[in-house]
Structures are given as structure tokens and as C-alpha cells.
């Protein structure tokens, strides 16, 4: 090309400049668009994570309200509100969201999957978040550990296990009784609260020789001798004295609190199903008869009357452990 060339190159230069400018602006667009996508994705990931974390917090807040009895050690099940608004485990996957959590315009959404493994329950909280039509999910794994076998929340109250003398065949009950009593040692104030609460309870009304008490909350201020075939279901009985029961007295899902001696004339052959005896302030534990091998220990607090909640909350211990985030 000559320096004194008079040919018109303007159009070529303009077109060249346009191409260069287009490439630069295009690059900027691409970078910005990529940045927007990255930030948007990052936001969705974090919100999905906090939705999963909300599931952990939800479980934490409801530990004592969850009905664990529907959980098995063979299948994963999902926590859900049932028709009675109780928290139970079931299939298929159930999502907690603004509808069942009573939240307006919230994007919170999580599910809680669990399986029972021996003394722990393994939970996976899955948080979901919608971003640009795409569902982002994050998982948090955690374990729930209880100091009760089978999460049945059993406990026993007594001052000091050394004060108890087991006589005769009652010695067969030694291990069971001590295992129960080692679970929790509530202080004297807790016991007094329970006793004060019980002052408002009505007395047990015995109407015949074969009574079935269902959903009874009662207290007697003296020794109580039950009929041989009395049956207690979903009940709390406080005996401010000695309790004598017969071999066929049935207990199902009940608390029996004794501020004295428990005397059993033949240990219940009908079984103590999901029930616990509390003995307190006792020096002697009398038993006679055979002690069944298949005695079930524990109690389902979810089916007990609400009056016991005040005391229950002080005595139960749950721990969340092994929190970890999974992709």
C-alpha cells in the first residue's frame, strides 16, 4: 500500500471497527451473562441448603412431638403431618412447605426422610428451591440419638438405687429396674412438680371387680390395692403410698408413679405393654411369682394425656449428632 494512496478505505475501516467492537461487546455480554448465571445458581444452592437446614431445625423443634412408633428399621419413611396434625412417618415423600407450615409467600420446602438403626434414627433433610424453572436440591444428613431404647422415652424416678432392696423373686427384676432408673436422675424439684400437679388429679374410682381404666389421670393419697383383673390403658396413675397389683392386672401405654412400695402378688402374666412403673421414696421392692421374659419397656408419650407434658419436657433427653451436608 502506498502512503499517498487516495483509495477510499473508510468503509473497510468502519466495518473492521464494527467487527472488533461487536466482538468486545459480545464478550462482555457473555461474561455478564455467565456471571448472572453463576450468581443465580449460587443463590439457588444456598437457598436450597437453608431449606434443608430448616428441615433439621424443624426436626429439632419437634423431637418430642414426633411419633416414632411408625418408623421401621427396614424402609426409609418420610415425616409428615397426618390427618390429626400429628407428626408421623409414612410413605411416599412428603414435603413441608408454606401450606402445611402456615407461611405466606414463602419458598421454604423440605422433606425429612428417616430410618431406625438400633439406638439412633438416621435422618436426611432434603431442601428444594426453584430457580429459572430448575429444581435445586440439597441434602443434610443427621442422626437423632435417644437415651431410651426404641425411642419410647421411658424413664424411672427414684432417689437412689442403693436404697432399694429386692426380695425373693423380685431379684429377677434387678437388672431391668436398675436399667430404668439409670436413665435419668431428676432432681427433687422435678419430683415435687409432678407431685404438686398430681394434687389436682381425681381419685381412682373403683366400681367393680373388673375395671378397665382408659385415659385416666388419677391420684390416690393412700395405699392402693388393685383388683386382679383391672386394666389400665393410656393412663397416668399416681399413688402416694404403696401399690399392690395382681398377676392379671394389665397395663398398656401407662405411667404408674408410686411414692412408696410396689407390691405384686404374682407378677402380671398379662404383661406390661409399653408402660413404666416409677417408684420413688421406697426402701423395699416386693415381688412374687414369675417375671415374664417378654416384658415390654417404654412408653409412648404421644398417646398420653397432655397434663404430663410439663414434667415430661424436663426429663427427656435427645441429641442431634453427626450433622453433615451431602450433595
Amino acid at each position: 500500500m502506498k502512503y499517498n494512496n487516495q483509495d477510499g478505505l473508510t468503509l473497510i475501516m468502519v466495518l473492521t471497527l464494527l467487527v472488533v467492537a461487536s466482538v468486545l461487546i459480545g464478550s462482555l455480554f457473555t461474561v455478564v451473562r455467565s456471571h448472572i448465571n453463576t450468581v443465580s445458581r449460587e443463590e439457588a444452592n444456598i437457598k436450597a441448603f437453608y431449606n434443608a437446614d430448616s428441615g433439621v431445625e424443624f426436626a429439632r423443634a419437634n423431637l418430642e412431638h414426633i411419633k416414632y412408633t411408625t418408623l421401621t428399621n427396614t424402609d426409609d419413611k418420610y415425616l409428615k403431618f397426618n390427618d390429626e396434625n400429628n407428626l408421623v412417618f409414612d410413605n411416599p415423600e412428603y414435603f413441608f412447605d408454606k401450606n402445611n407450615l402456615n407461611l405466606n409467600d414463602s419458598k421454604l420446602k423440605f422433606s425429612l426422610k428417616a430410618i431406625k438403626k438400633s439406638e439412633i434414627i438416621e435422618f436426611t433433610s432434603t431442601g428444594s428451591y426453584q430457580s429459572n424453572g430448575e429444581e435445586i436440591t440439597k441434602h443434610i444428613y443427621f442422626e437423632l440419638e435417644s437415651n431410651r431404647d426404641n425411642f419410647n422415652k421411658l424413664f424411672n424416678v427414684k432417689a437412689d438405687s442403693d436404697d432399694i432392696v429386692l426380695k425373693g423373686k423380685a431379684s429377677d427384676l434387678d437388672d431391668v429396674f436398675l436399667n430404668l432408673s439409670e436413665e435419668i436422675y431428676p432432681d427433687w424439684d422435678d419430683w415435687q412438680i409432678l407431685r404438686d400437679e398430681a394434687d389436682n388429679w381425681s381419685d381412682i374410682k373403683k366400681t367393680g371387680n373388673w375395671n378397665t381404666y382408659t385415659g385416666v389421670i388419677a391420684k390416690t393419697n393412700w395405699n392402693l390395692k388393685l383388683n386382679n383383673k383391672d386394666t389400665f390403658v393410656n393412663s397416668i396413675i399416681f399413688i402416694d403410698g404403696d401399690l399392690t397389683i395382681g398377676s392379671q392386672t394389665e397395663w398398656e401405654n401407662s405411667l404408674i408413679i408410686i411414692n412408696g412400695n410396689l407390691k405384686v402378688n404374682g407378677f402380671p402374666t398379662q404383661g406390661i405393654n409399653n408402660s413404666v412403673f416409677f417408684t420413688y421414696n421406697t426402701n423395699t421392692f416386693h415381688l412374687a411369682g414369675d417375671f415374664p421374659d417378654d416384658i415390654e419397656q417404654g412408653i409412648d408419650f404421644n398417646n398420653l394425656p397432655a397434663e404430663f407434658n410439663q414434667v415430661k419436657d424436663k426429663l427427656l433427653i435427645f441429641r442431634l449428632k453427626n450433622w453433615q451436608q451431602n450433595q
Partner: protein, 133 residues
């Protein structure tokens, strides 16, 4: 068109070129300004998210968790390197507030709270459930 021709079309070419350039520069500059604005917003959102996450993690500490149902709960400005922002719980919001923390107790549990953190000057908010102690 022969681009090596010596006919006098330079003026027309320049005028047309200038017109095209003006239109394109106007379009490009608008795009450029828009992109830079987007970048600025993204940076603000990124910062807001980082600060919000920090606030959430602080709320999960015992110091705040035990007071989630306290109507007089207040943010401790001197802690957690967040002092450059005016952070207030909803009951104490004023004109200088940058970040509002709203706590609602949920009746589906004894001890569950819905927490929403909203930035007043940036379009960003985050929500989470927290349990008290």
C-alpha cells in the same frame, strides 16, 4: 461496489459510516452501561448473601437462639464484623436500618420460629426455620 475506485463517494461514505457508528455506539454504550449496572447489582447481591448467611449463622448460636421469643431481642452491633451495617430486629427498625430481621413464632411447634432477613436497599431476602433452646 469497487472499494478501490477513486470516485468521490468518501463524504457520503463517511456520513453513512458516522450514522452507523453513532447508532451502534449508542446501542453498545447502553449495553455496556447495562452490563456494568448488572455487575454492580450482582456484586451487591453477592455481598448481601454473604452478610445474610453470616447473620443466619449468628442467629443459630446460643446467644440468639435462646432469645428468639424475646420481644426485646436486639442485634449486637459490635460483634461478628458486621458493624458497617445497621441490623435491626423488626420491632426496632428505623430509617437507618439496612437489614431487617423478622421473627415469627409458629404454632405448629412449641419452639419453632420462622426467620426472614430482608435488605431494605438491595433486592435480596432469605428465610429459614430456627428452633429455640
Amino acid at each position: 461496489m469497487n472499494i478501490y475506485q477513486k470516485d468521490g463517494f468518501s463524504l457520503i461514505e463517511i456520513i453513512i459510516s458516522l450514522t452507523i457508528i453513532v447508532i451502534l455506539v449508542a446501542g453498545f454504550s447502553t449495553a455496556l452501561v447495562g452490563s456494568l449496572k448488572s455487575e454492580k447489582q450482582l456484586n451487591e447481591q453477592h455481598k448481601a448473601r454473604r452478610i445474610t448467611n453470616s447473620i443466619i449463622e449468628n442467629l443459630k448460636t446460643e446467644k440468639y437462639r435462646t432469645r428468639l421469643n424475646d420481644s426485646n431481642i436486639a442485634w449486637d452491633e459490635d460483634e461478628y464484623n458486621l458493624s458497617e451495617y445497621n441490623i435491626n430486629f423488626k420491632a426496632n427498625v428505623d430509617n437507618n436500618t439496612d437489614i431487617v430481621i423478622n421473627i415469627e413464632e409458629k404454632d405448629i411447634s412449641d419452639n419453632l420460629y420462622f426467620v426472614e432477613i430482608t435488605w431494605k436497599n438491595i433486592n435480596y431476602s432469605s428465610e429459614i426455620l430456627l428452633s429455640g433452646d
